[in-house]
């Protein structure tokens, strides 16, 4: 390790306009040519710290030094000029433009007033060959896989001259194969003297990839450690402030009667374009039924059908014995079907309303919260809001503050609190722990297993294969909208096996897949 500091953020304090102290006296330093992990719980202040480094937020006090020089980073354009690049968790790409257009966006080489496309193409080619990051330069972004989009993001940052790369939870959306590839590429960049900041909750990845780790909790630095000298248990204890059980523990499932029965479900968005192709399965009481797949292979359409947000063209779906076509969303919720949406930051909350109001949004007609005359029972509502903020440890000043004033992870907890505390019979959980910290993940896993043990049914879609294999009792793999594999016992499946079916390298026989309807 060279030991030369690439950047130093010193005594950084950040107070948001709503009074939330996101960072307090944080000092964060990264050496040139190292991969440095930044870990902490949701709401610990990781994103805020990185937003300040990338110029998207301004520190209330404290200094930032880039390459030893004190710098004021007033905008992301300024950050890019200083050689800082950021790969956001949600890609900042224009889906309708080509790879090349996206990469040169903001720094188009010009000839007079027109874009010099030949020069642009040369630049893009050169940089992608130099770092062995292969992407088709003329393909449209919307046609790329998630892994390829990420490569485009990284290349874009490199093309814009970044020497310091910030990667915000880059592996959350990747398959194990893609993750390995990413790690290989990152190590090449590191050997070329690039500095990489790797934000992650996944401790095994931190261990595999990073040199040092900075842990923050409640907006303060808990320490900087060489990764080789701390155990995963120690890291999670520093992050959460208590011991965390990292392994998912559960007893064998006791499947009961069917709750969710799907037969030959087909969804098309045009007469020829099939999104979900003749999918059949049956999820029962007392089990967690998992769905694996690379994103965009029909999982989200499946979930939208099951939550009554999308009509289907063929097959049948019955929920708790009722044909789903005869039910409205409100009726579905009254049957006690909960839905943890993947897109919870946009459809899962009403930002300007309070935590309490968000928590009862689906229950406003419930006799506990509403009189026959249609008036709200405020005392009950307030008590409920207080109860669930405590139970789900939502970090807030009071349950009356607007949800939008919370950190991302805590907003997620509000969604989970609402969905899991309404005594569900069926939980449709779409990426329930994405973007959630270790402590909360542990809690969500326990909740889901607890519901299962009470004889409820959990339908789990997750791209975290470790989680999927740990939680699910049975699972199917979707590839290209169809079931590629069915595993009646997840204990005997490895992540690599799943990966092969997810990528379409292998496919089971119809007889094997047919087992899913049992």
């Amino acid at each position: 390790m060279s030991g030369v500091e690439a950047l130093r953020m010193e005594h950084i304090t950040k107070v948001y306009p709503n009074g939330v102290i996101a960072n307090q006296d944080v000092t964060f330093a990264v050496n040139r040519g190292e991969i440095h992990a930044l870990s902490g719980e949701n709401g610990a202040g990781k994103s805020t710290l990185m937003k300040m480094l990338f110029g998207e937020e301004q520190p209330t006090s404290g200094d930032i030094y880039i390459g030893g020089e004190k710098s004021v980073i007033s905008s992301s354009a300024a950050a890019i000029r200083l050689g800082i690049g950021m790969v956001h968790q949600h890609f900042m790409l224009v889906p309708s433009l080509s790879v090349m257009d996206n990469m040169i966006l903001g720094m188009e080489p010009t000839r007079g007033i027109v874009i010099n496309r030949r020069l642009a193409e040369q630049q893009v080619k050169r940089i992608s060959e130099q770092y062995n990051l292969q992407v088709p330069p003329h393909a449209k972004i919307r046609d790329l896989s998630v892994g390829q989009k990420q490569k485009v993001e990284i290349l874009k940052a490199l093309l814009h001259g970044a020497r310091i790369l910030i990667l915000d939870e880059p592996t959350a959306v990747l398959t194990p194969q893609e993750t390995r590839e990413l790690f290989r590429e990152l190590k090449i960049l590191k050997n070329d003297g690039y500095t990489i900041i790797f934000i992650s909750h996944k401790l095994n990845e931190v261990r595999e990839l990073c040199d040092r780790i900075t842990i923050i909790r409640h907006g303060r630095t808990m320490g900087v450690y060489p990764v080789s000298e701390v155990s995963e248990e120690e890291i999670s204890r520093l992050m959460v402030g208590r011991d965390v059980i990292l392994n998912i523990e559960k007893t064998p499932a006791k499947p009961g009667e069917p709750v969710l029965s799907v037969r030959e479900l087909t969804v098309k968005d045009s007469p020829t374009h099939v999104l979900v192709n003749s999918v059949s399965f049956c999820a029962r009481r007392g089990e967690i039924f998992g769905v694996a797949g690379v994103e965009g292979n029909g999982q989200s359409e499946l979930v939208r059908v099951l939550t009554r947000n999308l009509d289907f063209s063929g097959g049948s779906v019955s929920v708790l014995g009722r044909d789903i076509r005869t039910l409205s969303i409100a009726q579905l919720r009254r049957l006690r079907v909960s839905h943890i949406p993947e897109d919870r930051m946009t459809i899962g909350i009403a930002g300007s309303l309070s935590i309490t109001e968000n928590a009862i949004a689906d229950k406003s007609a419930d006799p506990d919260f509403c009189t026959r005359a249609g008036l709200l029972k405020r005392k009950n509502i307030r008590a409920y809001g207080k109860k669930i903020t405590e139970r789900y440890r939502v970090l807030c000043k009071s349950p009356d503050v607007p949800v939008s004033s919370l950190s991302g992870g805590n907003i997620q907890k509000v969604v989970l609190a609402r969905e899991l505390s309404s005594e569900p019979e069926l939980v449709i959980a779409d990426q329930p722990t994405r973007g959630v910290d270790v402590g909360a993940t542990e809690f969500i896993h326990k909740e889901l297993i607890g519901l299962r043990d009470e004889g409820k049914c959990v339908f789990l879609v997750s791209s975290d294969l470790n989680e999927l294999l740990g939680l699910a009792d049975r699972l199917i793999v979707l590839c290209g909208g169809a079931v590629a594999a069915y595993f009646p016992d997840t204990a005997r499946v490895s992540e690599e096996d799943l990966g092969r079916y997810m990528l379409g390298i292998d496919c089971q026989t119809p007889e094997q897949i047919g087992g899913a309807v049992k």
Partner: protein
């Protein structure tokens, strides 16, 4: 100081600052157009308070604005941008005129029937853009504005061809039935019973928005319609419902204005209370209980401008300009935000220090 107090302090300072800037601008304009600026300013600012009748003018002018701004608040609260308050108000007074002239009813019943009829007509008109949006996703902004013209010319047609007083040289309806007129409350002014209804409606709307189930669903829908859909609220139903109620309130406002202030229908164009209602609603910041105050403020400016126009060499078009200036200033949300941020940081740090001290004391 907690956040709520900081917001209150900054918001009230902001309001004061806006008023101050507005006053300076008004004064500047008056000084530049008037040969007797002192007299004009005096008439504008002090004039409205000089006699009970003029104070009455402020209140009377506030009543119709209270109805329309409540309607605007409900519509905007559901996340819709229908401008139908204007049309609903006008059709409300037209319906009240028709019912007043053609029905023979006893004194107490007659105005009630007229007001309810006006409300129904207002709701009916508001339903058009609402349903077009729901059924075919037609932009309610466009259809409501077009609807306002339809309403205006329909009303004028009705008066001209069916209810016109033939002996009058200007356009006016037949005399309204005495049984239908609203009683005056204060001698020497035109303050009428409709004002009580307006204030009751403000309280009702506050209760409705913040205490009822439908109001809650309305706020959820207005904040994030996709979220409302996801939790099982019939968001399109809520949007239509809010616009119907709003149309009804504006329609009642039109009836009340006609029956309280006039004995004939004399408007030859839509009077614009719906538009001014938007300013009043903005000023009241989503709080129906603030509506009477903000309506009075706008009515005060209108009255002041009228008095100034009568008693000095400045024209009443000034009022329009001043209203515009105030509206622009209200929209400037970021005013004083640095000061707010400074207060917030100080408060947060103090709180932190106190917590640390408490911790130390415990240890």
């Amino acid at each position: 100081m907690n956040n709520r107090k900081i917001n209150l302090l900054v918001d009230s300072m902001k309001l004061l600052l806006i008023l101050l800037i507005a006053l300076v601008l008004v004064a500047t304009i008056i000084f530049s157009v008037s040969k007797e600026p002192a007299n004009a300013l005096y008439n504008f600012f002090i004039g409205p308070f000089l006699s009970p009748r003029r104070i009455g003018n402020i209140l009377e002018g506030a009543f119709p604005l209270m109805f329309t701004s409540l309607a605007v608040m409900l519509i905007f609260g559901a996340g819709q941008f229908s401008m139908i308050a204007e049309g609903s108000f006008f059709i409300g007074s037209t319906a009240a005129m028709a019912l007043s002239i053609s029905l023979g009813l006893p004194a107490v019943l007659h105005p009630i029937v007229c007001i309810l009829g006006g409300g129904a007509a207002g709701a009916l008109v508001a339903a058009v853009p609402a349903l077009l949006k729901r059924k075919w996703q037609v932009s309610e902004v466009v259809t409501s504005i077009m609807m306002n013209y339809v309403v205006q010319f329909f009303a004028i047609y009705l008066v001209t061809y069916h209810y016109r007083e033939m002996s009058s040289s200007s356009l006016a309806s037949l005399k309204l039935a005495d049984t239908s007129l609203l009683p005056k409350l204060v001698h020497g002014t035109n303050i009428h019973l409709g004002g009580v209804l307006a204030i009751l409606l403000c309280v009702f709307c506050w209760f409705f928005i913040y205490r009822s189930k439908f109001g809650f669903q309305l706020r959820v829908t207005g904040c994030n319609p996709r979220f409302a859909h996801y939790v099982g609220i019939r968001e399109s139903g809520v949007m239509v419902g809010a616009q119907l109620i709003a149309g009804c309130i504006a329609g009642m406002g039109g009836s009340v204005e006609l029956l309280g202030m006039y004995n004939r229908f004399k408007w030859t164009a839509s009077p614009g209370y719906g538009w001014t209602g938007i300013v009043v609603a903005l000023l009241a910041k989503d709080n129906p209980l603030m509506v009477p105050l903000s309506a009075c403020f706008i009515a005060y400016i209108n009255t002041g401008a009228n008095i100034m126009a009568m008693n000095s060499d400045v024209s009443s078009e000034m009022a329009q300009i001043i209203q515009g200036v105030i509206m622009l200033l209200i929209a400037s949300g970021a005013l004083l935000h640095r000061w707010r941020q400074k207060l917030v940081v100080e408060a947060a740090q103090k709180e932190q220090a106190q917590a640390a001290a408490a911790e130390a004391a415990r240890a």
